[in-house]
Symmetry: C2
Subunit: 416 residues, 2 copies
């Protein structure tokens, strides 16, 4: 009876959370799409990136010092409940991210979604009377799940991500029900608002008549997936170290916080000039230029250059390290898919499969969430190749070191 | 460098483990198939079940008292390393299980596979010099993964099962690499020996042209899946309590261990006579009788009777509680699929989907491994319906209580 009441309580708490976060995700994704279209339409917007940076810097300096830590603040509140996550985090990160993308910063979405989820969850926790600290913690985890599940359209990996991301090498089930409900409801709400997600295709080698649900394994491909997994993990490590390093460098070299993204914006413009392409700006999911390198193009042979992955690391580290807003995950998808594209050529294996492996595995390494990423691959690419995905994600996880992009992540079980 | 050496060490240890356990699984599955065929061919074999029970009882009493605890012994050795798992566990459980199935006991396969995996892993641990207690623990976990992945043909859920089963509500990643390698190699080895697995079909509602990998959700079906999940969980609880209760009752009522399975065998014969069908004997995956209730028939409308699930609970609890060998998992598949079949009629939802939900969710509840079971559904039924599977498995997990079928499982994080 206590159990039934507890389950009912969590369903009743998670439903509105999912609806609110899913709606916030829909608003965010809609605005993001419009911002990206505008950037494609008016290429000169890029030259306003330093100005946009100044704006973001000023807004966060004036109103957002308490929420500057972003995802880490939410994780800290879960580890050691303190003052809660301020509600202002949601609008600030939303505005900051849209501005970042409008002017061409290289950033992602999951940070924004997770922060909106966390701050809405914290808001609900303040309004509902009689919640205990453990309840607030569960609600915050559900907020992470709702943000992740909603923004990527992957409800099951949204739940697992929230359960897996708090501690390296350990998954805790305390909040599994609220995470699952909030993530599914958020995804459904976001879809109900008319938001679609990009569809990726990995051409299945399984004829429907076979009745099989797992693609037969090929020894060489499996070995290549493992080797690629190691490289994906080292790339995660490089990305995390470079983002943290640039962040620290900006902080120590430029005292005035508002100036940091201004300098970062100038550096991004300089990078565009050096590399001679705008392919590494923004989300990078699609481009009006059919010859551009995008996440989608990485699934086709020849869809990425040998060092596309590296340039995306640099562009993103400069953008985020200097104080622009967004997330790391979509750039990590890009970096992984581009590296996978190149490795497929070297290893003589299917390009779409290895782009997909990189897509999830670099992310798995950088966030230390190999199981969420394996399940995400099922939700995004289908289940037939789950063994390859599990192998690449596990090895990326093992080789990405103990830091990752979230500094508030704790070590639950040390890696090998 | 240490990491690369450690990874190499674990790959080198897990490869032979996977080959050996996969071969043992192939031998076991081949013998099991032959035993089941013989039982179908010679129906009078059922009347020898008490004699078979006496044989199993005598063998375990004479040679197997150190390995009687089965799966729990392996889990105890992982929690608190002691004298290791005796190598004799593998042949004893193999012989005991084949005899159980030859004469018509209602039992499964995973216990046998996991015990063969654990004892082979423990054997390797004794032969390889210089292993530390933590290494032995990891190797034992890899043995569990290899047994599970090999016997069911589900390598990724084999890995996750081994990581998830030791403690309720907590997954630990310490042995993830050895578990993954051993599970994949075991599955591949078993397949290479010519062993096939039963293919289940859940007719996808996704047209291939849609480019989607997740079936669109339907609110009523999702609600029905959640409600069914609760019932699946309560069924897991019933199954676990009944098996433990009968085990204790046999132990206290019948002093002489050899006599217990003799009585149990007589009770199974009596049950066949009462229920008037042999459908609940053995594995129950298939039957030569096209009108029989089997796991496969449960995926078709009308493929199970209203109380098929209940009778399978009774048959299995009597078989295993009295000392026959095998496992609980395939009967749990049967129980869940049969209950799902009936619930689908009541809720007016697709029979194949709900049979599949029950198949994995009753197992998830009884072993407290909701994520392994969600991934198992992807490996057995495809990924399109993963959200339904996650919902049913999570709710079954929440409603199955804190005991489960493995008494050596610890509580990592209490349920809601």
């Amino acid at each position: 009876m206590t159990l039934a009441r507890s389950v009912l309580k969590w369903i009743l708490l998670s439903l509105p959370l999912g609806v609110l976060v899913g709606s916030a995700c829909a608003l965010f994704l809609g605005a993001l799409e419009r911002a990206t279209e505008l950037r494609f339409e008016y290429p000169w917007l890029l030259y306003l990136l330093p100005l946009g940076g100044a704006l973001i810097g000023w807004i966060y300096w004036s109103f957002g010092q308490s929420v500057e830590a972003g995802n880490n603040l939410i994780m800290d509140e879960i580890h050691e409940p303190g003052g809660g996550v301020p509600l202002r985090m949601a609008p600030l990160v939303l505005i900051g991210t849209i501005a970042t993308h409008l002017f061409g910063g290289s950033a992602g979405r999951e940070g924004t979604a997770v922060q909106m989820g966390g701050s809405i969850a914290s808001g609900i926790a303040r309004w509902v009377p009689g919640l205990k600290p453990d309840d607030v913690r569960n609600l915050l985890m559900a907020g992470i799940a709702a943000g992740f599940g909603g923004v990527f359209g992957t409800p099951v990996s949204g739940m697992i991500f929230a359960m897996e991301v708090l501690a390296i090498g350990r998954m805790s089930y305390a909040a599994s029900l609220p995470c699952l409900v909030a993530s599914i409801v958020s995804d459904q709400t976001c879809t109900a608002w008319g938001i679609g997600h990009t569809h990726y295709r990995i051409v299945s080698i399984l004829p429907v008549e076979s009745g099989l649900h797992l693609a037969p394994l090929d020894a060489w491909r499996l070995f290549a997936a493992a080797l690629a997994g190691v490289l994906f993990g080292l790339t995660s490590l490089l990305f995390a170290e470079m983002t943290h390093g640039l962040h620290a460098a900006f902080k120590s070299l430029i005292r005035w916080p508002i100036l940091r993204p201004v300098v970062g914006g100038c550096l991004v413009i300089l990078l565009v000039w050096i590399v001679g392409t705008r392919d590494y700006l923004g989300l990078g999911v699609t481009s009006p230029d059919p010859a551009a390198v995008t996440i989608v193009s990485c699934f086709e042979p020849g869809g990425a250059h040998a060092f596309s992955w590296f340039w995306k690391v640099i562009f993103t580290a400069v953008t985020l390290g200097s104080g622009f807003k967004g997330g790391e995950v979509t750039p990590l998808f890009f970096i992984g898919a581009a590296l996978g594209n190149v490795l497929a050529g070297i290893f003589n294996v299917p390009v779409d499969l290895f782009a997909g492996l990189g897509f999830v595995a670099v992310f798995a390494g950088a966030t230390n969430t190999p199981i969420a990423c394996t399940v995400m691959a099922v939700e995004l690419f289908g289940g037939e190749n789950i063994v390859y995905f599990a192998v690449a994600c596990q090895l990326a996880y093992l080789f990405s070191g103990h830091s990752g992009i979230y500094l508030s992540q704790r070590i639950g079980t040390p890696k090998l």
